[in-house]
Amino acid sequence: MSESAYETVIGLEVHAQLATATKMFCGCATGFGAPPNTQTCPVCQGMPGSLPVINRRAIEFGIKTSLALGCAVNVRNRFARKHYYYPDMPKNYQISQYEEPLAEHGLLAIASGDGTRDIRVQRLHLEEDVGKLVHEGTLETAAASQVDFNRAGVPLMEIVSHPDLRSPEEAAAYLRALRAILIYLRVCDGNMEEGSMRCDANVSLRPRGVAELGTKIEIKNLNSFRNVQHALEYEVVRQARALDAGERLVQETRLWDPRPGPDRLHALEGVRPRLPLLPGAGPAAPSRGAPVDRRDQRKACPSCRRRAARASRWPTVSRPTTPSSSPRGGDWPTTSRRRRAPTASRRSSPTGS
């Protein structure tokens, strides 16, 4: 058999960074390219005692997009905690939406062949982004890694399509159509190079005429239209060859390597991380988790205004791959000498040491 004996089935998960001025659950700025850890506060650094407060604007952007995609907006939607350990995630859980997303059941019309085709949107939900690891050297050889939490807590909107796409070209067309809507609504700048729009693809093949879905492979790290199309074309050929050879495909996640080479889709992980979910902000009373306008929050809380400046005092530089031989006490001043370190925030502190 050959490629054409199979039908390609593709579903896309698009993460769009919302163009809000502040983060999903705190008042920190969201601009791209600031010096590491300068746009952070106790909330987005996952400090003990901090609590998330929902950004009203992010909800509005999510609803706008939902309406543009013809989704049904769930009046009752809920945040939950998705748990896994990774150093770029300050709390070791991500606040996301799971069982009760913001919106469901939409449609997106895409160009296909000579006409258009409606692709079903399964769900749209909001979540927080994670930070960024900066490896000294490559991931494999790095002696040390550092964490930048500027991106941690930036609002993300995840838009999940049904597996309705039938070719890599259609996948690219879907992305173009979606990006145009997001940019038109001004909810996302659509800049794929800076990561404002990211895409994961699920792809499987099945013999033509068969209704049952084949084993799907998830491809991550697709940061341009070209990458999406190339990676999917590559994967479709790989799967067709494997199926021709009688191999059994195993469900896995692969990482797209944009550099030319013999094997451009690396197996990333065999199994998905275990994700116990726990209702997030206020499990006892989800309705109480009312979104706030950040301006009100800052007005009411003068310390929030000082927070950005103060945050720079708390270096989050860490070496998760080679822990140092001593506890990190040095970064957490306990001696009076360190406490008097002349920083801007210390001078403005009302405690006066």
Partner: protein, 447 residues
């Protein structure tokens, strides 16, 4: 005995021209060591945060300081508020001022003991399953857990987010009312702290309890309860009747399932809340990790005590795929039933009166078995599951001179009635005026 001085000057600004800075001007208070204090070490009783210095103040700390209170220091507690005796502190055991061979209760043991011993005029604790009311009963002080949502939890190191609530300890109901007045109310940094109007609690105190309907839950007088506790609480109820309240029996039939539900919900939430202590960002990082996972494991193994580890394991199991519905989901259903019990009772009565604990302060090391320790909270836990306000006030002493607590439980956000009844009872008795004799043996063996 129980204060752990941060060796810092009091957190007050220069007093301006002799004007009182606020309703708590100059009042010396102390804080359970899980309230974040900017520039002052905050450990939550755990080795994993032994050297953690928060860059920000908890909302309640800011409000106390704003009101003029002088923060004396931070108080010992069970690690991450998990325990009923303060024996599970990562640092040392706090003793009961009434008998130094006995526990002060927990987890806010330091906060109760400090007030009982006269080391602070008032203190702040947190109550997740009884952690204010039980130590208040054991130490002969007043301890009040307000309604969930009445007081901001911003900057309070979380144990179980849907149950945790901040509340004051004091020698009298009036002191506790003053403290609550200052810390209560909405907070833009905590969306669960609601904007329900905060009444003038002190003004409400004097209104008396003539005609108040008080329910006596039959399920709260359990088998194995200390006879001295039972008779003291029955006498206290008789006093309330004498003051004009009408009492009637009420039934809270799901009480016995509350404990089991709590020990699923609280550890589940704790396992999530404590995931952040991983050695990457702050606090302890254990040396010698071969790689990231090894560093995580070594840090958490070294930093957490046995009780915390036990609950993280319980909670992780209860939330894990395939068990979620059977444990966490089911526990939430029980929680709804417990809450409904109270709702039905409060259709007929204004207040519920019961013992705070089945017994009095036990000996250090007496409850080595975790289950017997957990049973201590059987009469306080349902109140947290339902999110209601509950107070413990001194209601007598055993023949051996150990304090006994009366618990009064109110409707959601009706702290005023709880305080009013507690105040009326206090005025009619003199238990709150007794002080432990702080003899030369106090604090012996202190590390």
């Amino acid at each position: 005995m129980s204060t752990r001085s941060p060796r810092r000057p009091p957190r007050t600004r220069a007093s301006s021209a002799g004007q009182p800075r606020g309703p708590l001007d100059g009042v010396p208070v102390a804080l359970k060591d899980l309230f974040c204090t900017r520039g002052i070490r905050t450990t939550s009783g755990s080795k994993i945060l032994e050297r953690f210095v928060p860059p920000y103040d908890a909302t309640v700390v800011a409000r106390l300081v704003e009101a003029g209170a002088v923060v004396l220091g931070k108080l010992n507690m069970d690690e991450f508020a998990m325990g009923s005796s303060t024996e599970h502190s990562g640092f040392f055991t706090t003793r009961n001022p009434w008998d130094v061979d006995r526990v002060p209760g927990g987890s806010s043991g330091g906060a109760a003991a400090a007030v009982a011993a006269g080391m602070a005029a008032a203190s702040l604790g947190t109550d997740t399953g009884g952690s204010i009311r039980q130590p208040a009963a054991f130490c002969g002080t007043v301890g009040f857990k307000p309604t969930y949502g009445r007081v901001s939890r911003y900057g309070v190191i979380a144990f179980a987010s849907s149950l945790d609530q901040v509340g004051p300890f004091g020698r009298t109901v009036e002191d506790v009312a003053l403290m609550l007045q200052v810390i209560a109310g909405a907070d833009p940094m905590d969306s669960t702290a609601v904007a329900t109007p905060v009444p003038d609690y002190r003004a409400e105190l004097g209104r008396g309890i003539e005609g108040l309907r008080i329910g006596i839950p039959t399920e709260y007088f359990i088998d194995g309860m200390s006879p001295e506790v039972e008779s003291a609480v029955r006498a206290a109820i008789a006093t309330l009747e004498r003051l004009g309240a009408r009492t009637e029996p009420v039934s809270l039939p799901h009480t016995e399932y509350g404990l089991a539900a709590y020990y699923v919900i609280a550890p589940a939430e704790a396992s999530s809340n404590l995931a952040r202590y991983d050695g990457v960002k702050y606090g302890l990082r254990a040396p010698g990790g071969k790689d990231l996972i090894d560093m995580y494991a070594k840090t958490r193994a070294a930093g957490f005590g046995d009780e915390v580890k036990r609950r993280i394991m319980l909670g992780t199991y209860a939330l894990s795929a395939g068990y979620y519905d059977a444990y966490y989901g089911r526990a939430l259903k029980v929680r709804t039933l417990v809450r409904r019990d109270f709702q039905e009772a409060f259709e007929r009565v204004n207040l519920i009166a019961a013992p705070t604990t089945p017994g009095v302060a036990f000996k250090l090391g007496e409850k080595a078995d975790p289950l017997s320790m957990y049973l201590n909270d059987v009469l306080t836990i349902p109140v947290n599951l339902a999110g209601l306000p509950g107070i413990s006030v001194p209601a007598g002493f055993t023949g051996g001179g150990l304090p006994i607590g009366l618990q009064l439980i109110g409707r959601a956000f009706d702290e005023a009635t709880v305080l009013r009844a507690a105040h009326a009872y206090e005025r009619a008795t003199d238990w709150h005026t007794r002080r432990p004799s702080l003899g030369p043996n106090l604090g012996k063996d202190r590390p």
